[in-house]
């Protein structure tokens, strides 16, 4: 008898909890779906939280190139900075977040490729990046991608850059994989690792960090083409609006300012702003 009462009580608690979470997610859905109207509503944008120069959460707010682009686009869509809700979009979650409607759009070093384009729509591209390497500033051995074959490379586990190295660029290189790029930097500084590889825009962001200034340099190899686009839900009418906003950002020079502010200190020679819809293979 006592047992049954306990069961009933816990069932009630469970039901309450479920109901509460259901309500919670309903609220969220409301706010994000009605946000497309503008006015005093909110817009939810997915960005990276842990990539300096691209999208980083700092104690004083959010910084990075993606953040600047997203803020500009949001402004063109009719949202002020304080109406933006930032949300972390981890690489693996991006498609799901858009499909579920958790975010209105995603600007998170999101390279356009066929598998992804089948699931979501891309506005842009707004930046053409290349896979590159970051080496110690005094390194003289690594002059071309072929030199990497006898070296120790580091990248993030499972990432496209790591797979590229293994499959194509330098199959004989030893690859150390970590969870984040910051962990690679420990070894790069101590000499246990010779090069860190991923998109040059991300590398430039790390090299521009105050604590690493002057210690690392970019190889400048342009090993792949990564077209960063802004991801929206499949069939969304936001795509056309964001494209217009991005065009305006380039034409009024805000784009150049954002590049200079975020990547400038690393000596990163950026590509000119890509044309909308022009995906470089």
């Amino acid at each position: 008898m006592k047992l049954r009462r306990v069961t009933a009580a816990s069932a009630a608690v469970l039901a309450l909890a479920v109901a509460a979470t259901a309500c919670g997610s309903d609220d969220k859905d409301d706010s994000s779906s009605s946000s497309s109207g503008g006015g005093d509503k909110k817009i939810t944008i997915g960005i990276k939280f842990d990539q300096p120069g691209i999208g980083q959460k700092t104690p004083d707010g959010y910084t990075g190139f993606d953040v600047d682009v997203a803020t500009y686009v949001a402004k063109q869509l009719g949202y002020d900075e304080d109406q933006i809700q930032w949300k972390e979009a981890k690489s693996a979650d991006r498609e799901t977040m858009l499909q579920r409607g958790d975010v209105d759009f995603i600007a998170a070093s999101y390279s356009i490729n066929d598998e992804r384009a089948a699931k979501v729509d891309f506005a842009g591209p707004y930046l053409l990046a290349h896979q590159d390497v970051l080496v110690r500033a005094d390194d003289k051995d690594i002059k071309s991608p072929e030199d990497l074959n006898s070296k120790k490379l580091c990248s993030v586990a499972g990432s496209t850059s790591a797979q590229n190295v293994k499959d194509k660029l330098a199959p004989k290189a030893q690859l150390q994989q970590y969870q984040t790029y910051s962990q690679c930097l420990t070894g790069l500084q101590s000499g246990a690792i010779d090069a860190l590889t991923t998109d040059d825009s991300i590398l430039a962001g790390y090299a521009s960090q105050a604590s690493f200034k002057g210690k690392f340099k970019l190889g400048g190899f342009k090993m792949t083409n990564e077209n960063y686009g802004i991801g929206v839900k499949k069939g969304s009418d936001l795509k056309a609006k964001i494209d217009t906003a991005l065009e305006k950002m380039v034409s009024d020079k805000s784009w150049d300012k954002a590049v200079e502010a975020n990547f400038g200190p690393a000596g990163y020679e950026n590509e000119p702003a890509p044309k909308i819809g022009n995906v470089v293979k």
Binding site: A92, E95, K119, A157, G158, S159, T186, G187, S190, I193
Partner: protein, 221 residues
């Protein structure tokens, strides 16, 4: 429906998982037994060491331990564990970290087994003139092991799943392949289900077989 599996070597990834599990299991059984011996031993210094080790190591998250073996031991202090191939070094570092962590749990399981052996057994052995090592290895531990097969099976299953943490330092086991596939294929749910199924295939038989063994060998008192 499952065409996203093409081009990936699932067997190799799960084989690495199995290797990590078996090597770490053997290692932590040995080191855990030694720790348990220290904890019940007559030398205060060793008892203190055993207690401190168990209480410190089992309260550190495994991710931190594994990351320390790589970022601390390898990248900062240059420990390579006898191999200059990055993948081999990482594998050995992961096994080292898993042994260090799991042995704390093996030690505690075993110590509870030692407590199930009636104290009269040890006293009788002492009375026959056996020294501490003989009492432990000939009388107490054989009985203790027979009563902790069940708890040790639990530890082994936990260890099997804990090997996924080795992905944090880039050991090419199942969880790392899963990350890779999720990155490429945009099939989050299906891929996760496939890997979850793979782990169930590994752990379910472990549990069943060791459960049967545990009944078979238990000391009836």
């Amino acid at each position: 429906m499952f065409d996203f599996l093409e081009g990936y070597n699932l067997w190799e990834a799960f084989w690495t998982t199995v290797q990590l599990t078996v090597l770490s299991a053997v290692g932590s059984l040995i080191w855990g037994t030694l720790l348990a011996a220290m904890r019940v031993g007559p030398v205060p210094l060793m008892r203190g060491f055993g207690t401190a080790y168990v209480n410190i190591v089992r309260n550190i998250p495994l991710t931190v331990i594994i990351l320390f073996t790589s970022l601390g031991l390898n990248q900062t202090f240059g420990v390579e564990l006898g191999s200059d191939v990055t993948d081999t070094t990482n594998f050995r570092l992961a096994v080292l970290g898993l042994i260090a962590y799991t042995s704390a749990f093996v030690c505690e399981a075993l110590r509870s087994g030692i407590n199930t052996v009636p104290v009269g057994q040890a006293e009788a052995a002492r009375a026959l003139g056996l020294n501490f090592t003989q009492v432990l290895t000939l009388v107490v531990l054989p009985q203790a092991f027979r009563s902790v097969v069940g708890p040790l099976a639990n530890v082994l299953i936990a260890l099997t799943k804990n090997t996924t943490v080795a992905a944090a330092i880039g050991v090419a086991e199942a969880a790392l392949l899963m990350k890779e596939m999720i990155e490429n294929e945009a099939q989050l749910v299906l891929i996760s289900a496939v890997f979850a199924f793979g782990f169930v295939c590994l752990t379910l038989p472990t549990g069943l077989i060791l459960g049967w063994v545990s009944k078979k060998v238990a000391v009836k008192r």
